[in-house]
């Protein structure tokens, strides 16, 4: 009797103590620097919402560790983003994510990595961080920037396109996309057309394409410029004769909605589609649609994976990133989390080794356009920069 009372008291004390400990556990700060304003703001919004969905599902925790996601808008200005990162680093934030654009990434990267903090990218995948400037604390969960273009080149081969016109905006990411496409495309390139960033009118280029009469066009125009191009391509009457091949990021769900039926028949290279047959993807699509009343983009899928990856690593160190950075890094490398992509692992440069798919935009059963996953374009696809990475 006496003994059991003691034991009971001890149990109560113990549980009280553990309660106190969990109450004291300070939430882990995660710096989420995203593009939430400007016309590209819808992308950042989707990424933030998907990331927060994972946090919400964990009841304010990722991997059972309470987190405090500090969301800031970079307004697509590298200088802004750097300032925000500086402030957060000084405030003791050890873990960052959220950046969509590679030029913003280039500005924030050194700030975060030089401070010994971690960066886990949910979209931007510039080549330097995959190659020469690869860093033990830098992880890319989405892709390396070349991947969506070189898989589009494979798509062009797959579709039997003999002559292709390439069209991309004249800036770094545009030129990278062209280089990526050319690396894998085996046919003839009829012409390379460089457009202006944020170009509104494509009539001149479309007239040129009409006279060249290629089998297909490869183009990379995310956001507004891509909407312009798609609408005008459909209006020009070229869509019946010429196949359009583009990465999913030049024809995401919002762009598809903004172009009516103009995107019908487009072929896309993508790392994810809502019809992928795995439990995590199905759960994600359902939960996201229910929470936000809209279909998730591939951007959102990447962000959700990023949050869950971070959760798996936080769990391994019980949220103590500063105290156990090596364990945290190793846990990230293991990538032991359920991915919406079915399977997921990192290559030696801490960029994904993953499957890429060929999608086709067709009318669904209700007449609305949907992405149909036709086939796998590349299995366990990596990037060419990994060989330059010495870690």
């Amino acid at each position: 009797m006496h003994k059991s009372t003691l034991r009971g008291a001890a149990a109560v004390l113990l549980s009280l103590a553990s309660y106190a400990a969990s109450a004291q556990q300070k939430p882990v700060d995660i710096g989420f620097i995203g593009t939430l304003s400007t016309p590209a703001g819808y992308i950042g919004e989707d990424e933030r919402d998907a990331f927060m969905l994972a946090v919400k599902e964990g009841g304010g925790k990722l991997g059972g560790v309470p987190v405090n996601v500090r969301v800031e808008d970079d307004a697509l200005k590298p200088a802004n983003a750097k300032q925000i990162a500086d402030k957060m680093v000084q405030g003791g934030v050890r873990l960052f994510t959220g950046i969509n654009f590679s030029n913003v990434m280039a500005a924030v990267g050194p700030t975060v990595l030089n401070a010994g903090a971690f960066y886990v990218s949910l979209n931007a995948g510039p080549s330097n961080y995959a190659g020469k400037a690869c860093n033990p604390n830098y992880f890319s969960v989405a892709f390396q920037n070349d991947s969506y273009a070189d898989t589009a080149g494979m798509a062009a081969n797959e579709l039997g396109a003999k002559r292709v016109v390439i069209m991309a905006p004249n800036y770094q990411a545009g030129r990278d996309a062209v280089a990526g496409f050319k690396r894998t495309y085996k046919g003839e390139i009829a012409d390379e057309i460089y457009t202006k960033l944020e170009q509104a009118d494509f009539s001149v280029e479309l007239a040129r394409i009409r006279s060249l009469n290629p089998d297909a066009i490869f183009q990379f125009h995310p956001g507004g410029a891509g909407i312009n191009l798609t609408k005008q391509f459909a209006n020009s009457g070229l869509a019946d004769k010429i196949k359009m091949i583009t990465p999913i990021y030049s024809m995401d769900d919002r762009m598809l909605a903004a172009t009516g039926t103009a995107g019908k028949g487009f072929y896309l290279s993508s790392l994810w589609s809502a019809d992928l047959d795995n439990a995590q993807s199905k759960h994600f699509v359902e939960a996201f649609t229910k929470a936000y009343n809209r279909a998730p983009t591939a951007y959102a899928a990447q962000a959700y994976d990023t949050a869950n990856l971070i959760g798996s690593a936080l769990k391994a160190v019980d949220g103590d990133i500063a105290g156990k950075p090596d364990d945290f890094r190793n846990a990230l490398r293991r990538a032991d989390f359920p991915s919406v992509r079915g399977k997921f692992k990192f290559g030696p440069n801490q960029h994904p080794v993953q499957d890429w798919y060929l999608l086709h935009i067709e009318a669904g059963p209700d007449g609305k356009l949907v992405y149909k996953n036709l086939k796998v374009l590349a299995r366990d696809h990596t990037d060419v920069h990994a060989v330059d990475c010495k870690m």
Binding site: A200, D201, S203, A207, G224, N235, A258
Partner: protein, 304 residues
């Protein structure tokens, strides 16, 4: 040859868009002496009003009405609340205030219409293309755009050269203080001009919405080119805006079409790519520099 004709039509269509935007801007700048960076916002407001009216009614007429009414009304409100207080301030104050208004409008539109760009379809009677010559099919929507630009140019010409209001506008452009001294309610004239400018932007918005992305910030991007147009054409003159629009529109379209073509014949490929794309981007500014060298007040300046 057919290709050249098609590119000329493309140039005309771009000119028409530029003219609709610059006609109002040049009057506001020339007559009211206000640098109005909010001008592009009226274009955006028009496009968003058109897209949402088209989405809810499915009618292009409703979209047209919504765009005109929305842009004009917003222009009127902005004039009454803000611009009115800026007439006698210097240009820096005007730039700051109207830039602020641009940011405000972007957020306002985001709050009202959301962040995802809405869709607006080409109305059925303007969809498809028509054979202008054997082998030259041109989209009807673009032809309609050119026609709309020409009609507005004609209408403005009639308004300015044949009506009392037009006379006052011309007088105001030449010597606003004298008009004021003669007992004309110049305040009302200013409000009218400003609203008319916004209305034209709204019209440009509804015509552009089926062809372009309707998105936040669409006005700012074209505003710079619009300023180039009025500087080339001559500030304060609608005829100048027309001449400037045609020059800039044509230079841009033909430059994009033929500069890469000629450069690839003149230079080795690794140089011609970057050289031609830089030259294409710079072409309208080079044109502006040349025009200003010979005609510092623009092609058709308002008489003074």
């Amino acid at each position: 040859m057919l290709m050249f004709l098609e590119q000329v039509l493309n140039g005309l269509q771009y000119s028409a868009l530029l003219f609709l935007l610059s006609a109002g801007l040049t009057l506001v700048f020339g007559i009211m002496n206000v640098i109005n960076l909010t001008h592009g916002s009226f274009y955006m407001v028009g496009a968003f009003c058109a897209a949402s009216a088209a989405a809810s009614t499915g009618s292009f007429a409703a979209a047209l009405l919504a765009a005109l009414a929305g842009a004009a009304l917003y222009g009127l409100v902005i004039e009454l609340l803000v611009i009115r207080h800026l007439y006698r301030r210097d240009h820096l104050d005007q730039v700051l205030a109207t830039l602020g208004l641009t940011l405000f409008t972007n957020e306002l539109v985001t709050v009202l219409f959301g962040r995802s760009p809405p869709f607006m379809d080409i109305p059925p009677f303007l969809s498809g293309s028509v054979a202008l010559l054997p082998g030259l099919n041109y989209p009807i929507m673009r032809l309609a755009f050119i026609g709309a630009g020409a009609l507005v140019a004609l209408g403005l010409w009639l308004l300015i050269s044949r009506t009392r209001v037009g006379m006052l506008v011309r007088a105001g452009a030449d010597d606003g203080e004298m008009v004021d001294a003669l007992g004309v309610n110049i305040q009302r004239l200013f409000t009218l001009i400003f609203t008319l400018g916004a209305l034209l932007c709204g019209f440009a918005g509804v015509m552009a919405a089926p062809l372009l992305a309707v998105e936040i910030g669409m006005g700012e991007r074209i505003l710079i080119t619009t300023f180039v147009v009025i500087v080339v054409g001559g500030v304060g003159s609608v005829r100048g805006a027309l001449a400037g629009s045609l020059m800039i529109g044509m230079t841009d379209a033909l430059g994009r079409a033929y500069i890469p073509f000629w450069m690839s014949r003149l230079l080795p490929p690794e140089l011609s790519d970057s050289a031609s794309s830089s030259l294409v981007s710079a072409s309208i500014y080079i044109l502006m520099a040349i025009v200003l060298l010979f005609k510092p007040r623009g092609l058709v300046p308002a008489q003074r």
